[in-house]
């Protein structure tokens, strides 16, 4: 048996938007958690008077794995929810296929930081509206306008609890990443 090639997709979005549910739906294994210690710089920013804590702040990331074939394994990482953990995002998106930015239309502005980050760092991303109970409360076009995402960024509807829906949104991301790659190769 040879060692599989690992690929990675990042699931971003606001706090409690359903990222861990999304990971759980597609993963072959119970999602795992890895912790990273905060860097010094972010730690200082984060240190709001808690001088007694010597332990330093850690940030937890949930992730799952999906065997795509015997030679290919996909990891799906959820980003830490709070903005102050953005220091981890650089590592999360390094070498990633791209990101699915999960959106709850009732709390649209929660996903602004994720959209901003992906745009500024040129990470291929799609916006996936998590339609709880299958009810779509806003039209994707309205969401596009509200988020001000470029027309070439796909906006899809998903359900984080549904494996097929989660898979379909990742298919959309991979297709988009292929388009981005083809454009980069030409231009």
């Amino acid at each position: 048996m040879s060692t599989p090639i690992p690929v990675k997709i990042v699931v971003a979005g606001g706090f409690a938007v359903g990222k861990t549910t999304f990971v759980t739906s597609i993963s072959d294994i119970e999602p795992l958690t890895t912790e990273a210690a905060m860097t010094k710089v972010s730690e200082e920013v984060d240190h709001l008077g808690d001088a007694t804590s010597k332990k330093g702040t850690t940030v937890a990331m949930d992730f799952g794995r999906v065997a795509l074939s015997p030679e290919l394994v996909l990891y799906v990482f959820g980003t830490p929810g709070q903005d102050r953990f953005h220091f981890m995002w650089d590592e999360l998106v390094r070498g990633a296929i791209g990101a699915v930015v999960l959106v709850d239309t009732n709390r649209l502005d929660d996903c602004f930081p994720a959209v901003d980050y992906m745009e500024h760092t040129n990470v291929p991303f799609i916006v996936a509206i998590n339609a709880f109970d299958g009810i779509l409360r806003h039209h994707p076009d309205d969401v596009r306008e509200a988020l001000d995402v470029p027309h070439h960024v796909p906006i899809v509807v998903t359900d984080a609890r549904n494996r097929a829906a989660v898979r379909d949104s990742m298919v959309s991301l991979v297709r988009h990443a292929m388009t981005v790659a083809a454009t980069a190769a030409v231009g």
């Binding site: 890895t34 210690a37 850690t58 795509l68 791209g98 991979v174 980069a184």
Partner: protein, 128 residues
């Protein structure tokens, strides 16, 4: 569901070794010379299997669980150590030849997977 994941080693998970401060395991080091991504696959070499019994406990745990390839992030999760600690320990094992790593090499200039690899990912997803 597949059964490709390794059995979680109870010895590693419950090991009292890790009640010590995590960075004690690395001699206080927080960085490794070896470039390791969260998803980089780690696999025990034949040398590592032979030498497992001679290794320090925390290194032995890694050599045991990586008999089937695991990512750096999974090593961190299974051993209950922070990511940076897992990277240092795995980096040491790579340097000593007890494990080998496999990262994506089929990349574009951006460091992201190239179109051929993306096509294989697409096929894999569609077959789920």
């Amino acid at each position: 569901m597949t059964t490709s994941g390794p059995a979680r080693p109870a010895s590693a998970a419950a090991s009292p070794t890790f009640r010590v401060r995590p960075y004690t395991l690395t001699g206080g080091r927080t960085r490794t010379e070896v470039e390791l991504g969260l998803e980089t696959q780690i696999r025990t070499t034949e040398q590592g299997m032979r030498r497992a019994g001679m290794l320090a406990l925390e290194l032995r745990d890694i050599v045991e669980i990586c008999r089937q390839p695991l990512s750096v992030a999974e090593v961190s999760a299974h051993l209950h150590v922070p990511l940076q600690v897992a990277k240092v320990l795995v980096g040491d094992l790579i340097t000593s030849g007890d494990v080998a790593s496999q990262a994506v090499v089929e990349t574009q200039q951006s460091g992201r997977p190239d179109i051929q690899l993306l096509e294989r990912v697409l096929e894999g997803l569609q077959s789920l």
